[in-house]
């Protein structure tokens, strides 16, 4: 142990030797507004091509929840050039894989193929940016698919239904309170016009980030991107994203979700929290480390107090998602040990939080966390795809390339005082929701 600690101290001193920035990354823009990121990695002769749109479910108008995700599905139907399903079958016939994802702040499409197929992928992706042509029958059958997706991911899972209610209660006025996949009653009504107007409004080159990672040079990407994407005119109607924002939150909210399918009860609490902003990521950095300190594994403060010292809970966790366009959340969860009620677990969590606010940050723990954050920069280089996703999500969540590259340094500069100040600002009952996931007949529940 002592020997290891010494080695650790020596390592800290030697660190700057390899703390280089993302030297494998090149960024530039095309004339029509497409922002391009290239992550070079020549270890395998493959490439990942991703097109990220700066639009997600939180950009939907009221009444059409789920339309961003529905459109993502319909992007795989036909265009004026491609038959329905041809996009994926061409990718498959070229030995590639493709898929897509929709989030609150972005929608992304990607293919992973041998690097000499990059041009073909761009050709097809550029095609479906401008003229998809789903048929009425496809709207019907694919709406069935997204309703089944909701049934599988949400309606069949009480924990997922509970999270949906938690978000709806946490956000008083922002689209983050509406599920990405949509509310079922609105999904059932989504039609051709809803989809095509969302597509016309948001899908254009000046609303995208192109990320290419793998065995390719920046010059090759620039030439191919100009050939395939550069010819598409920008849509001048697309301007900065305008969203309703949260008002000051003034009341602590509590909810109880009961479902007979619940096997493990738990308590969770979410607080409204600031996100990473361009040029101002310091508070988010402090909150990122705070989540590690409070609930990042067996050495975390809450695990020490609740899992080891008192054995009140079997599991504790803390999360903070700094990558977000608007106000994000900081969340805690505790799973009570057998014989411990939800109320007792919540009380123990609050006692521990109060103690943390009094005792402050353990310096050795902070050192260990910073060490892991530094090492994560090395490990991250093992996955060019991971680097690609990091840039894609940042650039569609309001951040710049400079912000992404400054982030590791900002994390290292966080002090114990920064963390305690961020904790005091964010862990306020008035801007929180506390939820119990429980069974209808659970004893010792909050109703007593």
């Amino acid at each position: 142990m002592t020997a290891l600690r010494l080695a650790f101290a020596a390592l800290l001193a030697a660190w700057p030797a390899w703390a280089a920035a993302d030297d494998q990354v090149t960024t530039f823009a095309l004339d029509n507004g497409i922002q391009v990121v290239v992550v070079e990695d020549t270890r395998a002769p493959v490439v990942t091509h991703m097109l990220w749109y700066r639009v997600g479910s939180a950009d939907e108008a009221p009444g059409v929840s789920g339309v961003a995700h529905f459109l993502e599905h319909l992007m795989f139907k036909g265009t004026d050039e491609l038959a329905s399903g041809e996009f994926s079958s061409v990718v498959a016939a070229n030995g590639g894989r493709d898929n897509a994802f929709t989030s609150y702040d972005y929608t992304g499409y990607f293919q992973r193929v041998a690097s000499d197929r990059l041009g073909l992928m761009m050709q097809m992706e550029a095609d479906r940016m401008t003229d998809i042509a789903p048929t009425a029958a496809e709207i019907l059958s694919e709406r069935g698919v997204i309703l089944e997706e909701r049934a599988q991911r949400t309606d069949s899972d009480p924990a997922a239904l509970f999270r949906e209610q938690m978000s709806a209660a946490l956000y008083l006025n922002h689209g983050y309170g509406t599920p990405i996949i949509g509310w079922r009653h609105e999904m059932e009504e989504l039609d051709m016009e809803d989809v095509m107007s969302f597509y016309a409004e948001h899908y254009a080159p000046n609303n995208t980030v192109l990320v290419v990672a793998g065995d390719v040079t920046a010059d090759e990407v620039r030439a191919l991107a100009n050939e395939h994407y550069g010819v598409i005119p920008a849509n001048p109607a697309i301007t900065a994203r305008q969203r309703t924002q949260e008002p000051p939150q003034r009341a602590e909210r509590r909810l109880i979700f009961r479902d007979a399918r619940v096997a493990q009860e738990y308590v969770t609490r979410s607080y409204i929290a600031p996100e990473r902003d361009p040029g101002a990521q310091e508070k988010a950095a402090a909150l990122t480390i705070l989540a590690e300190i409070l609930g990042g594994g067996t050495t975390s403060f809450l695990a020490e107090k609740l899992q080891f010292d008192t054995q009140t809970v079997v599991y504790v966790g803390a999360w903070y998602r700094g990558m977000s366009l608007d106000d994000t959340s900081f969340s805690l969860v505790v799973l009570p040990a057998p014989g411990v009620t939800l109320e007792e677990a919540e009380a123990a969590m609050d006692t521990a939080l109060t103690e943390f606010m009094e005792t402050g940050v353990d310096a050795e723990q902070l050192d260990r966390i910073k060490m892991q954050l530094r090492a994560s920069q090395i490990y991250a280089r093992d996955s060019a795809d991971g680097v690609a996703r990091r840039y894609g999500s940042a650039l569609t969540s309001g951040l710049t390339v400079a912000d992404v590259q400054a982030w590791p340094g900002i994390l290292q500069a966080v002090t114990a005082e920064d963390i305690m100040q961020a904790a005091a600002e964010v862990l306020r009952p008035e801007s929180s929701v506390t939820g119990y996931l429980t069974t209808p007949e659970a004893e010792g529940g909050p109703t007593q």
Binding site: V90, N94, R97, R112, A114, A151, Q307
Partner: protein, 440 residues
């Protein structure tokens, strides 16, 4: 925009898959332990994968879950460190160790930095050779395992899987979950942990692979430090499992809006000469691509599901061919009917030459896509060794896929696909389905 179908066609016919080019060397330590290595010094860390054959199937009778719980305790205290001390040292080194168990193997995946490699290896060795199995850690981790088992008992997918497995394999270890049951896990003691540890940690079932910033010489020395003092032999391997399931439907009522169905029958062994033909067949029928017949018919054409798949499950002690689908209670009967029709059609009429060609292109193209990180390469290499594949297999694998003929696939479809032998376990409140023989 001009049409580019012609251009696509040209690309399709000329396309050759990327070639997987992985330079593996076999390293034998001074003490006689062998490992496969891909040396890749460009990033200052290495990935290391260690596997022990037998896995949770080595659980003694009545001790189901012992190997799983023991595996969970490896990182909960070793040598002079209790659970928290072990975690703190691991964090201070920024090393990561993951320990997991499945039916056929216990897996340890590690990654650590070049500059504190010796300390990381010492720590990893302690967890393998000197775990403490402290009573307080055992109680704590057991509660976590029990929490997971109780959650699984309420999860429609897990309920369906458990029922299918039980019908298929009965009292063989494959017939139950490797996590064990509430009863068996609650009864496990520290002595059971010591026994489970002795059963599996032995050189006669050991496989090692590494990728990253390390030389063959340094890896050789590391192998002896890490694994050199393991005993030569462990517990005998369990017997082969006999598949006892036959065609039919089993409905397990559960209050949920969407039913889940697991289905399957006997499969084909990984070392069977027809295995690649079976893989091609499955790719066409229900493999992971969007183009599969099941996805096209059940999802794309009819909108009955978000996902439907079939997959070959060739394990050490039995091989099955299984699949799954989730569909609303009102539509799951129709989804199952479509799946049975497709199974029947493929069994009697086979698949088309074009489908076979597309499946082969997909499989040969997808293969090299996975060798994209040290962690992935190390994991793949340890798996290859467990399958008994030769060290020069990777560049030859696509030739084996290419060698599959249309006749091979049709012949395999004829004997492997058994529409009357499919057993569907359906969990939910399915409309128009009940337990019994397969409907006509």
């Amino acid at each position: 925009m001009k049409r580019f179908s012609l251009a696509l066609f040209a690309v399709l016919t000329l396309a050759l898959p990327a070639r997987a080019d992985v330079d593996i060397v076999e390293v034998t330590s001074p003490g006689g332990i062998t490992a496969w290595l891909v040396q890749e010094p460009s990033i200052p860390f290495m990935a290391l994968d260690i596997r022990f054959r037998g896995g949770a199937s080595l659980d003694a009778l009545g001790k189901r879950g012992a190997t799983n719980l023991m595996t969970g305790l490896l990182e909960e205290g070793a040598a002079d460190m209790d659970a928290r001390a072990f975690a703190r040292v691991t964090e201070a080194l920024a090393a990561s160790f993951s320990y997991s168990v499945r039916d056929d193997s216990l897996s340890i995946s590690a990654r650590f930095l070049t500059e504190n490699r010796d300390e990381a290896v010492a720590l990893l060795r302690a967890s393998i050779k000197e775990p403490r199995f402290d009573q307080d850690a055992l109680t704590r981790v057991r509660d976590q395992v029990l929490s997971g088992i109780r959650s699984d008992a309420q999860d429609p997918n897990e309920i369906a899987t458990a029922a299918w497995r039980k019908m298929a394999f009965g009292t063989h270890p494959y017939g139950s979950a490797y996590e064990g049951s509430v009863e068996t896990v609650s009864a496990l003691t520290r002595e059971d942990m010591i026994e489970a540890h002795a059963n599996i940690f032995a050189k006669d079932r050991l496989y090692v692979a590494a990728a990253g910033d390390i030389t063959p010489e340094a890896l050789g020395a590391m192998l002896d430090t890490l694994l050199g003092d393991l005993p030569d032999t462990g517990a005998p391997m369990p017997e082969e499992a006999q598949l006892a399931i036959s065609g039919g439907v089993t409905v397990i009522p559960y209050p949920t809006p969407q039913s889940v169905a697991m289905f399957g029958h006997a499969g084909i062994d990984q070392d069977d000469d027809d295995f690649f033909a079976a893989r091609v067949l499955n790719q066409v029928l229900g493999g992971g691509s969007f183009e599969s017949r099941l996805t096209q018919e059940v999802r794309v054409e009819r909108g009955l599901t978000y996902g439907v798949y079939s997959f070959l499950v060739p394990r050490d002690l039995a091989a099955t061919y299984q699949g799954q689908v989730a569909s609303s209670n009102e539509t799951v009967a129709e989804a199952i009917e479509v799946i049975r029709d497709e199974w029947q059609k493929a069994a009697t009429e086979g698949v088309t030459e074009e489908e076979i060609a597309d499946a082969k292109t997909y499989m040969t193209g997808a293969y090299p896509l996975q060798f994209d990180s040290n962690s992935a390469i190390s994991r793949i290499m340890v798996g290859m060794q467990m399958l008994g594949l030769p060290i020069d297999y990777i560049p030859t694998r696509n030739e084996r896929v290419e060698a599959v003929t249309v006749d091979d696939v049709q012949r395999v479809a004829g004997y492997l696909l058994d529409p009357a032998g499919l057993h569907f376990v359906v969990v939910g409140q399915p409309v128009g389905l009940e337990s019994g023989p397969l409907p006509n």
